[in-house]
């Protein structure tokens, strides 16, 4: 066969193949470069004191405990709201809805939500939750904004795994005389747990990485909040990403910024691994 391939074709083949390899190499080098750069510049500044205190201009010390706590509060608050809403919405789409137009409308809305940039979420969150609902600039307003933002992820992943639950489960359950809600609760949802867990992990990833939507909703404060303050109106706090932005852009404190960036990278690495492990874990469960 090689005899029929002319020289020019061979050369062109080689060039194209080289380009393909080159682009894959670019991706890997970019990522490896970024990882090394940030970890080398950042890890050195992470100490126990850095993680467990708050920034004090008086003592000239920098600490990110308030930001760690704010991030945690926002994750918990968002998940508590978005989990039932997202799962409920997916259940409705997959189990209850019979009107095709309604399903199409909901799916269209979900796709639209997924495409809206986070800065617009931030602005609308400010209008709706900070001003209209008068939560003030607070973690609560930020969390509600993120609920709308993570809703598409939650709905889509849950729906995907609901689709893979065999119909025989539903028929068996209904045939035994269970009501629809009883069937969903005992037979359908437990089999779709993998999608729900994946949805949660992906949502946490988005929440940890989000900054533009939180800048005007959750605020830029660096105070340690108690849980009750965190859910109150006006309990403002900046998450890791927002505080990193403030340290880098407003204060020019790049050491701190890189330290936070290193923490963010490690977090996203862990979440990435967690998502992969869940997928594998449940795949194995299916094979049994």
């Amino acid at each position: 066969m090689n005899e029929t391939v002319s020289r020019t074709r061979k050369i062109r083949d080689l060039i194209l193949k080289g380009l393909v390899w080159l682009s894959a190499a670019i991706i890997c080098l970019l990522l490896a470069g970024m990882l090394c750069f940030i970890l080398i510049k950042g890890l050195g500044h992470i100490s126990w004191k850095f993680l467990s205190s708050k920034t004090s201009l008086l003592n000239g010390t920098v600490g990110i405990l308030p930001n760690l706590l704010s991030t945690l509060y926002i994750i918990i608050m968002t998940l508590i709201v978005v989990l039932p809403l997202g799962v409920g919405s997916a259940v409705y789409l997959n189990e209850y809805a019979k009107n095709k137009k309604a399903v199409r409308l909901i799916e269209l809305a979900t796709e639209t939500l997924a495409g809206i940039p986070s800065i617009i979420y931030g602005l609308v969150g400010m209008l709706i939750f900070v001003q209209f609902c008068s939560f003030g600039t607070s973690l609560k307003a930020g969390a509600f904004t993120l609920v709308i933002m993570t809703l598409p992820t939650m709905i889509r992943t849950t729906q995907e795994s609901l689709k893979t639950v065999p119909d025989s489960y539903r028929e068996g359950s209904l045939g035994l005389g269970a009501g629809k809600w009883y069937m969903i609760r005992t037979a359908v949802l437990p089999s779709a747990i993998d999608g729900i867990v994946t949805g949660c992990i992906l949502s946490v990833g988005r929440i940890v990485g989000e900054s533009a939507a939180l800048l005007f909703t959750a605020g830029m404060a660096n105070e340690i909040l108690s849980p009750s303050q965190a859910v109150s109106n006006g309990g403002a706090g900046s998450t890791l990403t927002v505080s990193m932005y403030m340290y880098a852009k407003e204060r020019g404190d790049f050491d701190t910024a890189f330290a936070i960036a290193a923490i963010l990278l490690i977090l996203s690495l862990l979440l990435n691994i967690a998502a992969k492990v869940t997928a594998k874990l449940f795949q194995r469960g299916d094979k049994k």
């Binding site: 391939v5 083949d13 194209l16 193949k17 393909v20 080159l22 682009s23 894959a24 670019i26 991706i27 970019l30 990522l31 750069f37 940030i38 919405s89 259940v91 409705y92 209850y96 309604a102 909901i106 809305a109 979900t110 796709e111 639209t112 939500l113 495409g115 809206i116 940039p117 986070s118 800065i119 617009i120 931030g122 602005l123 609308v124 209008l127 209209f132 709308i148 809703l151 598409p152 005389g177 009501g179 629809k180 809600w181 990833g205 940890v208 990485g209 533009a212 800048l215 005007f216 990403t241 990193m244 932005y245 880098a248 852009k249 890189f258 960036a261 963010l264 996203s268 690495l269 990435n272």
Partner: protein, 316 residues
């Protein structure tokens, strides 16, 4: 064993009676349970439409807060005015610089990011072995998870000074740096969507091409890629959406001055225009920021429509 007629009847009855009972009366005779079922149905229905309600709310709130300023300034002056001077004695609210910057920035990012992304998708689907492919696809999914402010920080510390030195500029925070950062940021979504598109091409196409004497590379570039062009188009449109909506990373590397776009000039995007003045603005300036957000929202909706159209056509 002989059974009398009565015995047979009795046996039959004892077998059929329970079955008949189930058909006539479900075992759940509890009226509470029925109410509960209806209640669950309603609750799930409400959950189902929450996405629709959210989209409607976002649209309404943006319209209500964005339209007044446009009315006050005048649509033509707002969209096509080339000067943004909200704090001058005679304030000017023209957002043409932002619109053009967003368009140029997006176009540049697509120009750099899409070819690399498609080639990388080709590598993942057609060329890489299981191990190398696994490493590259892990890298891609990790890249997708990195927060945008981290990209911005690296851009600020690495790309901005490099651009300054290479091109001998007074400041490296400009449109070009922003394009580079955006190009990297759209890579993961471009790669994953084109990967799906490339995998969906039927094997027969490639086999036919190979059988006709084309080399493997020729087959990929002349058969597989053209066959998956609408999927790849969807990847490009998605990349456009990502690039036009990115705010934080761009804010950190673009210089953030409201100039008409020049490749090595400090510029401001639609997104960064909103983000940078929101915290201190008031009055008409603040209202105008919402109008900018409205314009951005309309852009995104248009992109979504195109994306929907492309994906739908692909399904048919």
């Amino acid at each position: 064993m002989n059974l009398s007629e009565r015995q047979v009847q009795f046996l039959l009855q004892s077998k059929t009676i329970p079955a008949v009972k189930i058909q006539q009366k479900p075992p759940r005779t509890d009226p509470l349970a029925d109410i509960f079922e209806k209640f669950a149905h309603i609750i799930f229905g409400i959950c189902g439409f929450i996405a629709v309600v959210s989209v409607a709310m976002i649209t309404v709130f943006l319209l209500v807060s964005g339209v007044p300023a446009i009315k006050e300034i005048g649509l033509a002056e707002f969209l096509f005015g080339t000067k943004w001077l909200p704090t001058a004695d005679t304030p000017r609210y023209g957002i043409m610089p932002f619109i053009l910057t967003s368009l140029y920035g997006t176009f540049g990012a697509i120009l750099i990011g899409v070819p690399i992304g498609i080639l990388c998708a080709v590598f993942l689907t057609k060329i890489a072995g299981k191990r190398i492919g696994g490493i590259v696809s892990a890298a891609v999914s990790l890249m997708a998870g990195i927060p945008s402010v981290v990209y911005g920080l690296v851009g600020m510390i690495v790309i901005v000074p490099t651009v300054r030195e290479i091109f001998g500029l007074p400041d490296g925070a400009n449109l070009f740096s922003a394009i580079l950062v955006l190009a990297v940021m759209i890579l993961p979504s471009v790669i994953s969507v084109s990967e799906t598109a490339l995998r969906a091409v039927p094997k027969e196409y490639e086999e036919a091409s190979l059988a006709l004497g084309a080399t493997k590379t020729e087959t990929i570039f002349k058969v597989t890629i053209p066959a998956s062009k609408s999927g790849i188009l969807a990847a490009v449109v998605l990349g456009v959406g990502r690039a036009i909506g990115e705010a934080m990373a761009v804010m950190m590397v673009s210089g953030n001055v409201a100039n008409m776009p020049k490749i090595f000039g400090s510029v401001r995007f639609l997104t960064t225009a909103v983000a940078s003045e929101m915290s201190y603005s008031s009055g008409l300036q603040r209202k105008a920021l919402f109008s900018i957000a409205l314009v951005l929202f309309i852009f995104i909706m248009a992109i979504n429509l195109v994306l929907n159209f492309v994906v739908k056509r692909d399904k048919k």
